[in-house]
């Protein structure tokens, strides 16, 4: 899509979408959102970037193969489950902890780590498929 307007606006749009996807991911436990939807938003962002700047640029921006992100996600989700075993509770039992940051209580938990894993899997897989389909010159 060789449009100057699109190419100019795309990076801005992509940046906003990526930030929004992380926001959606993190609010997911209490408000509508979560890893799956966040991953979809991030993947859409990357698809737009690929359309505007070319697949090669999108791949360069990613640094790693998109499926590597998916693999990392599965591993992260699995590790979040394994962590429970170290605390002598069944696999995938949620572990919670919280700390104070600037006067606000911030909760961290293994379900959150798990959800981040889901985010990466969805992002990586959809991006991989979309980029491969956009790419005409090979290198899937």
């Amino acid at each position: 899509m060789n449009s100057l307007i699109f190419r100019t606006i795309a990076p801005l749009l992509v940046a906003v979408m990526l930030v929004f996807s992380v926001f959606v991911l993190l609010r997911g436990h209490n408000e509508p959102g979560g890893g799956f939807i966040g991953g979809l938003i991030a993947a859409s962002a990357l698809t737009i970037y690929g359309m505007a700047m070319g697949v090669a640029a999108a791949r360069t921006a990613l640094k790693a193969h998109p499926l590597a992100y998916a693999g990392f996600g599965v591993a992260l989700a699995g590790l979040a489950g394994v962590l429970s075993i170290l605390f002598d509770v069944p696999f995938l039992t949620g572990l919670w902890s919280s700390f104070e940051f600037d006067g606000v209580e911030v909760a961290i938990s293994t379900p959150m780590v798990f959800d981040i894993g889901v985010y990466f899997v969805v992002f990586g897989t959809i991006s991989a498929v979309a980029l491969a389909l956009e790419d005409d010159e090979g290198g899937a």
Binding site: H29, N30, G33, G71, G73, F114, V118, V122, A130, A132
Partner: protein
């Protein structure tokens, strides 16, 4: 250090597997000495197991159990009694010499792998004879089959070796499945996996089934008629393998199974007569087929069949004397047959041939092999005072006084032993006596490592013959007691009863053997002519069945996997319709449908938008337009979700719809299709009909679900527990990442795998593309192609 039974079991069963993994490394470190090093593994097992003889000889049963899968009630349990100990000591003892021999027999880089396979087999075989748990028994049983497959096919560049390996695996694998079924049946009946706790199963209704399954497993493993054909073919394996797996140990697995099952299943006519009939037939078949052969290894293979049949026959007879004879014969056979195989390997190694007609006069160049053969042949011939003689005396004594079937069995035994004796004489006299014949290699003696086995095993056969009372007390009587389930005293003693019928039957056997030996060439040519006349063998029968199954599978695959995408989709959607409506219609559960449609105006608007989208999909002339219209319909559905209070679902639906439109559009440009849909009218009607039916079916199903009572239990549970347990207000998300986290973990793995598969598909399509399109040219306008169909 006190060697407790669990250490002994670990040394016998687990250490070989560990050593198997290390064998290639050991070979790299010590080179051609590896045979000597790995032989220490069975020696350690032997030394650890030996003291237990004292305990089992008093009738004690030693049990060792380790936790395995407690939640399934499974423990890795082992049982050492007279029977399993005799087998375990034989496996360890013969195994030591076979490993030593292999180190010298097979030189070069493949030795490490070969020794590894042999060690893994040894561990599996020890596990098989020591296991008490039925699951473990099955596991080790199959592991021996796998090890046998690897070892038969070790020389995998030869087609014959590959075929023999597959044949052995298929036949013994069939038996393995039968054993698994038998194990499950016993578990269903008794409620436990421990075989020792199974008790007497004869009264059970499933008894005939159990007998059939166990005997099928035993007959395939121990190569009984009509499954015998794989064993002679298994001689494609290197000679130490034939000596160890295919005569002394693995093929005895079936015999062991029958012996082990005798307390649980034995005693009824169906068990005893089946064993006697098949055992007797195999005995005679093998003994006669041995006469046909001129290859020394094939002769031995056929006599092994005969000996296995003989053991089955004796176990089938089932009397105290017969079982004693079987145990004695098992030990004697393992000693002499392993020795003979090892000598044959030495002859092959030293002269370059195994053909009995090309060998002669080897007594001078291969004196030590000659001595080993004398001892083994004498045992096979059954001369006193070798252990083989006592085994023969026992079996004759067992059957001499009895019913018709006993007398028939006795006749088969005398005839079979006579034939085996003749082969024993032929193996000794033909290659070693007479004129020295010229052979492919100048005859020379084998190295020490290859001679240790035949000589020591032969000497052992003689030595045990001098102490029959002790052998009886320590090994034979405890094993017999374990098989029969009652305490048995030994009656073996170092004496020959010159006036008993057994001795005169022995004499008759010898006369028969010598007579047959003198007429061996005549018998061979007669049998050859007979075999040519028949022209059909069990081996060709196997091929017929085996390749028949392969052809059948091919035909079924071609029928179902025809490669026409529109037919696949047609079948899938028709089945979807049937699955959705069929059960409702059959069980009278068709919904009544909505009574009134009470929708607000904006809800009507959204429904209208969706209908408009779908209608546009159908009427659109251009594909890109149809895809966009489909997206409009999807967005309308997403808005409906939002209106009915499911923001999460709606949110996701939005994203999925957007990405679907993008990806579908990308796929369409890649497929290089016509921009319009060129389907003929009848295809259009068929696809449209299926689409309409699909819509009706899904709608009906949904209505039926809505009309049913709404089960609130899950909603209540999640509402109540989402915040206190999982600290989250968004129930959907909490379910996904916490309550049903394992499901999600599985789903994301599937998502990733699907991604990999899609990339592979795209890459495959790309590889074919350059044939059609010249890549250097700028892409011209999409060419119009012959009518290609796309899925709607």
């Amino acid at each position: 250090m006190e060697v407790t039974p669990d250490i002994a079991i670990a040394l016998a069963v687990l250490l070989p597997f560990l050593a198997a993994a290390l064998a290639p490394l050991i070979h790299r470190l010590v080179g051609d000495l590896s045979g000597w090093v790995v032989a220490l593994v069975p020696v350690a097992a032997f030394i650890a197991l030996w003291p237990l003889l004292e305990r089992t000889s008093t009738g004690e049963v030693v049990r060792v159990a380790w936790p395995w899968a407690p939640s399934w009630g499974l423990e890795l349990s082992f049982l050492i009694d007279g029977l399993s100990l005799v087998f375990a000591l034989t496996i360890a003892g013969v195994g030591a010499f076979v490993l030593l021999y292999s180190g010298a027999y097979l030189k070069g880089h493949r030795q490490g792998r070969f020794l590894g396979f042999l060690l893994a087999f040894m561990g599996a075989m020890q596990g098989l004879v020591l296991a008490d748990n039925l699951v473990a028994l099955y596991l080790f049983w199959e592991l021996t089959s796998v090890a046998s497959f690897l070892l038969i096919g070790f020389d995998h560049t030869r087609q014959a070796a590959r075929r023999a390996a597959i044949q052995a695996l298929v036949v013994t694998g069939l038996g393995g499945l039968a054993l698994l079924a038998a194990g499950v049946a016993i578990y269903a009946i008794t409620g436990g996996w421990a075989l020792s706790a199974a008790g007497d199963l004869k009264g059970n209704a499933a008894y005939p089934l159990l007998v059939g399954l166990v005997l099928l497993a035993a007959f395939t493993k121990s190569a009984q008629l009509p499954f015998h054909f794989w064993l002679p073919n298994a001689m494609e394996a290197p000679t130490p393998v034939s000596a160890y797996l295919h005569s002394a140990t693995m093929v005895q697995g079936g015999v062991y199974l029958v012996a082990r099952m005798t307390p649980h299943l034995g005693g009824e006519a169906i068990w005893n007569l089946t064993l006697m009939a098949f055992g007797g037939a195999t005995l005679l078949w093998g003994a006669i087929a041995a006469l046909l052969q001129t290859d020394l290894k094939q002769m031995l293979a056929q006599t092994t069949l005969a000996s296995l049949g003989l053991l089955m026959l004796l176990l089938g007879a089932g009397t105290e004397l017969a079982v004693t004879a079987a145990v004695l014969y098992f030990v004697a056979h393992a000693l002499y047959k392993a020795g003979l195989f090892l000598v044959v390997g030495a002859i092959d190694h030293g002269t370059g041939t195994r053909d009995i007609t090309m060998l002669g006069g080897l007594r001078d160049p291969m004196t030590v092999s000659f001595i080993g053969t004398i001892m083994a042949s004498a045992a096979m011939f059954g001369l006193p005072p070798l252990i083989g003689f006592f085994a023969k005396e026992e079996m004759y004594a067992a059957l001499a006084l009895g019913q018709l079937e006993s007398l028939l069995a006795l006749a088969a035994l005398v005839l079979g032993n006579g034939l085996l004796g003749a082969i024993g004489l032929a193996l000794l006299i033909k290659p070693f006596m007479g004129q020295l014949l010229t052979t492919p290699i100048e005859p020379h003696e084998a190295p020490v490592a290859m001679l240790a086995g035949p000589v020591v095993l032969g000497l052992l056969g003689i030595f045990l013959g001098f102490i029959p009372a002790l052998v009886g007390e320590l090994a034979v009587a405890p094993a017999t007691s374990a098989i029969l389930g009652v305490a048995v005293d030994t009656h073996l003693k170092f004496a020959v009863d010159l006036f008993g019928p057994a001795f005169w039957l022995s004499v008759a056997t010898w006369v028969l053997a010598i007579g047959l030996f003198l007429r061996l060439d005549l018998a061979r040519s007669l049998l050859r002519r007979l075999a040519t006349t028949i022209g059909w063998t069990f081996d060709t029968g196997f091929d017929w069945v085996y390749f028949g199954i392969v052809r059948f599978a091919g035909a079924v695959t071609r029928l179902l996997h025809h490669g026409r995408l529109e037919l696949y989709l047609f079948v899938v959607f028709v089945l979807l319709v049937v699955a959705a409506i069929g059960p409702l219609w059959l069980m009278d559960g068709l919904p009544r449908g909505p009574q009134s449609l009470d929708l607000r105006f904006y809800e009507w608007g959204l429904v209208g938008l969706a209908v408009l989208g779908v209608g546009t999909v159908v009427y659109a002339r251009r594909r890109l337009f149809a895809i966009l219209a489909l997206g409009v319909q999807g967005l309308a559905v997403a808005l409906l979700y939002l209106v009915f209070g499911a923001p999460d679902l709606s949110f996701t639906q939005f994203m999925v719809e957007i990405l679907s439109v993008v990806i579908l559009a990308l796929v369409m440009t890649r497929l290089d299709l016509d921009s319009a849909d060129p389907r003929p009218l009848e295809d259009w009607a068929r696809d449209g009909g299926v689409a309409l039916l699909g819509g009706v079916a899904v709608t009906t199903l949904l209505w039926a679900v809505i009309e049913g009572p709404f089960d609130l239990r899950l909603s209540t549970f999640f509402n109540a527990h989402s915040v206190p347990i999982a600290h989250g207000h968004n129930i959907v998300n909490v379910i996904l990442v916490d309550f049903r986290g394992l499901d999600t973990l599985g789903e994301i793995s599937v998502v990733m795998t699907a991604g990999i598969a899609i990339l592979a598909l795209i890459r495959g399509a790309r590889r074919q593309r350059p044939v059609e399109v010249v890549p250097a040219e700028p892409q011209p306008q999409p060419k119009r192609r012959a009518a290609r169909k796309a899925a709607p």
